[in-house]
């Protein structure tokens, strides 16, 4: 290299100007940049003050907190304050519907089981998260349905419920083993029985026997329980809303994936069936589908068979949600470049390997906002089941205003119900944003 070449030295970085960073910089830049901006800020602050003030006055400062009827409330403050006692009296019904009061603990335990099932998904050292999630979808409903429904159970039913309980035990055994020992529960069991060096077949047998032992214990526990039957017509309130939307949400994702793949399939029969299904259920309002299933389905069933009304509503919601989800997923599938399929093909992967390992993980990740948006929509759409006479959260709120003591009390219950809806929807939304950030971390440009 010749010696007379000049050496290039990049200029050092200088700090950014002070007034463009930090809190003060942000306020100056965004709120008080120039005169119109300052005026808008003041106007906005004023509107916020008026609205929030009015709501607080109505909901808290002028509200009546104890009374025996709506008349007493009206005599005390008129319409300038909320009348909360009506909501308090009915609150338990808003949450549990007409479920017998001495059995309500079963609902609580049932949902506690769901929470327990989900907690390991947030534990940082747990690696088997996919398996835990799948087990929640496949096994939790078995356990929950017995807690919620109760009644007689034959041998098969007992075994299924016990499978649910086994699932929960497995989830926590896995979570604890992976958190504290850093190995999967299967490996831990094999190691602690001194079979770490045994061959693969023998280890597999040991794992199966251990699972069987837990299952038998679960069977014994379940068969010692006996819950009175609570028929679904007593279900209601937030509980019913969660049951319908929970099943709808859980069903819609896998069903939507299958329909979306089906619609893009090369096999004409499958493609046609999927397209027909999607277009049919997407083109009809949910209310109509609910009516159809509620009134017409029994006509097509053989005489004497009776399909539970709640079940009819759930099936209707599931099919509707699956059709919508299918189109969202299809959008995600279309965003995957052709090169990804070609690379997978060229590597010799099969259709299902390509779909499950290459295409879906990417498609679902892009579609998280849309998918969760759909979940939120579905959660709120379940209010429509009130039309066929189910007492979901919304219908229960309406019932308060029809109680003779609280005649005409509609605003307060609806206010509370919207708060409940907001809490759930906002939680879903925040979770999806968190999930997006987590999945995007370190993988994007």
């Amino acid at each position: 290299m010749p010696n007379d070449l000049q050496v290039f030295v990049p200029a050092p970085d200088r700090p950014a100007p002070l007034d463009s960073t930090g809190v003060v910089g942000w306020i100056r830049k965004n709120l008080f940049q120039d005169i119109p901006n300052t005026l808008m800020t003041i106007l906005g602050a004023y509107i916020l003050f008026v609205v929030v003030g009015a709501v607080l006055n109505w909901a808290i400062f002028n509200a009546v907190w104890s009374a025996n009827s709506r008349r007493e409330c009206l005599d005390a403050v008129g319409r300038s304050g909320a009348c909360w006692p009506g909501v308090f009296v009915w609150f338990e019904n808003l949450i549990y519907g007409l479920y017998p009061k001495d059995q309500v603990w079963r609902i609580n335990v049932g949902f506690l089981a769901l929470v327990l099932w989900m907690v390991p998904l947030w534990m940082p050292r747990v690696v088997s998260k996919v398996a835990i999630g799948l087990s929640a979808v496949a096994l939790y409903p078995l356990l929950a349905s017995y807690f919620f429904l109760g009644g007689d159970k034959g041998i098969i039913w007992t075994a299924l419920i016990a499978a649910g309980l086994t699932g929960l035990i497995w989830v926590w055994a896995t979570a604890l083993s992976e958190t504290f020992k850093g190995k999967t529960i299967g490996v831990l069991v094999v190691d602690s029985l001194g079979q770490a060096d045994a061959d693969e077949a023998r280890q597999r047998l040991t794992r199966r026997l251990a699972t069987l032992a837990v299952f038998i214990v679960a069977c014994l526990i379940i068969s010692s329980l006996s819950f009175v039957e609570v028929r679904t017509r007593f279900w209601g309130g937030l509980f019913l809303t969660l049951v319908i939307s929970g099943i709808g949400i859980t069903f819609s994702l896998p069903a939507g994936i299958m329909l979306a793949l089906g619609r893009r399939s090369n096999l004409p029969v499958i493609a046609m069936f999927s397209t027909l299904f999607i277009e049919l259920f997407r083109s009809v309002p949910l209310v109509t589908i609910l009516f159809m299933f509620n009134t017409m389905l029994p006509l097509f069933m053989p005489a004497g068979t009776e399909v539970n009304q709640l079940l009819r509503a759930i099936v209707a919601v599931c099919l509707f949600a699956a059709a919508y989800m299918a189109e969202i997923i299809r959008g995600g599938l279309q965003a995957i470049p052709k090169g990804q399929y070609e690379a997978a093909d060229a590597l010799g992967l099969t259709y299902w390997q390509t779909t499950s390992q290459v295409v879906l993980p990417q498609a679902l990740k892009i579609m998280i906002p849309a998918i969760v948006g759909n979940f939120i929509g579905l959660f709120k759409d379940t209010t429509l089941v009130s039309i066929i006479g189910l007492f979901d959260l919304m219908n229960m709120a309406r019932a308060i205003g029809e109680d003779t003591n609280w005649l005409g009390l509609f605003i307060e219950p609806f206010f509370v119900v919207s708060m409940i809806y907001f809490v759930f929807c906002f939680a879903m939304s925040s979770y999806s944003i968190g999930l997006e950030k987590k999945l995007a971390a370190g993988r994007d440009r």
Partner: protein, 246 residues
């Protein structure tokens, strides 16, 4: 059946896209360890030809025999054919949601049902060979184009192919990165791999190629030794093409 030592035997291959006749009576024979460079103007059918070999495109007439296996255009033995062939694309086509290492181990683990540890060991061997071992846990989009293409080569090698196909592997790269990819390809060629490479990197062609194929309008115009082809093309069409790219 092929004669011993014949890796790829293509006879009178014809393909149409709708009414458009992309490949016209293409015949080609590649022996084990030979390196073929395919060049030609865009739209001449170069990519389509090599994509037919591993059946990313299906052909309508003629026959392709890969390592003794007759390729079925209806797709009944795609996986058998593809397990013998590694392919590298112009746009890398790495899986962005998987780490570099997982990109390499995906097929061995799923397709060949190899235990994870063994698959990772093989993957690391190939990643070190292309000089990316220390980036194994990064994700593809965190790497430069040249590094991504080298990962793509390593990924293809993990399937233990007997033949490597390259579809314009350096066309999407910045000039500074072309060399690092070509170096890997030269090393691969020197290791005795059978290679068919669509490229306009003529320096590379001179260095490694046994044969240069010039295609135009869906036909093989000229097949020649690289030095003869570059210094003394037989057809006016080849000479015209060379005058534009050299």
């Amino acid at each position: 059946m092929t004669k011993p030592g014949r890796m790829i035997e293509i006879v009178k291959l014809n393909k149409w896209f709708g009414q458009f006749h992309v490949l016209k009576d293409v015949s080609l024979s590649v022996r084990e360890g030979e390196k073929f460079i395919i060049c030609g103007p865009s739209g001449s059918g170069k990519s389509t030809l090599i994509r037919c070999i591993n059946q990313l495109e299906t052909h309508q007439e003629g026959s392709i025999v890969v390592d003794g296996v007759e390729v079925d255009p209806k797709g009944r033995n795609h996986r058998e054919v593809r397990s013998r062939i590694g392919m590298v694309f112009q746009n890398f086509n790495l899986f962005p949601h998987l780490s570099v290492l997982d990109n390499c181990t995906l097929t061995p683990r799923l397709g060949l049902e190899m235990p994870k540890a063994e698959a990772e060991e093989i993957a690391m061997t190939h990643l070190s060979r292309v000089g990316i071992a220390e980036q194994a846990l990064k994700y593809p989009l965190q790497l430069s184009g040249g590094q991504q293409q080298r990962v793509a080569i390593a990924r293809a090698l993990c399937v233990k192919p007997k033949i490597m196909l390259f579809d314009e592997p350096t066309s999407a790269l910045d000039p500074e990165m072309i060399k690092e990819v070509l170096d890997v390809m030269v090393e691969l060629a020197e290791g005795g791999m059978t290679m068919i490479c669509v490229t306009h990197e003529m320096g590379f062609a001179r260095q490694v190629a046994d044969k240069v194929i010039f295609m135009d309008q869906g036909e093989i115009v000229e097949t020649n030794e690289p030095n003869a082809f570059f210094s003394n093309p037989r057809f006016d069409r080849s000479a015209d093409f060379l005058s534009h790219i050299l």
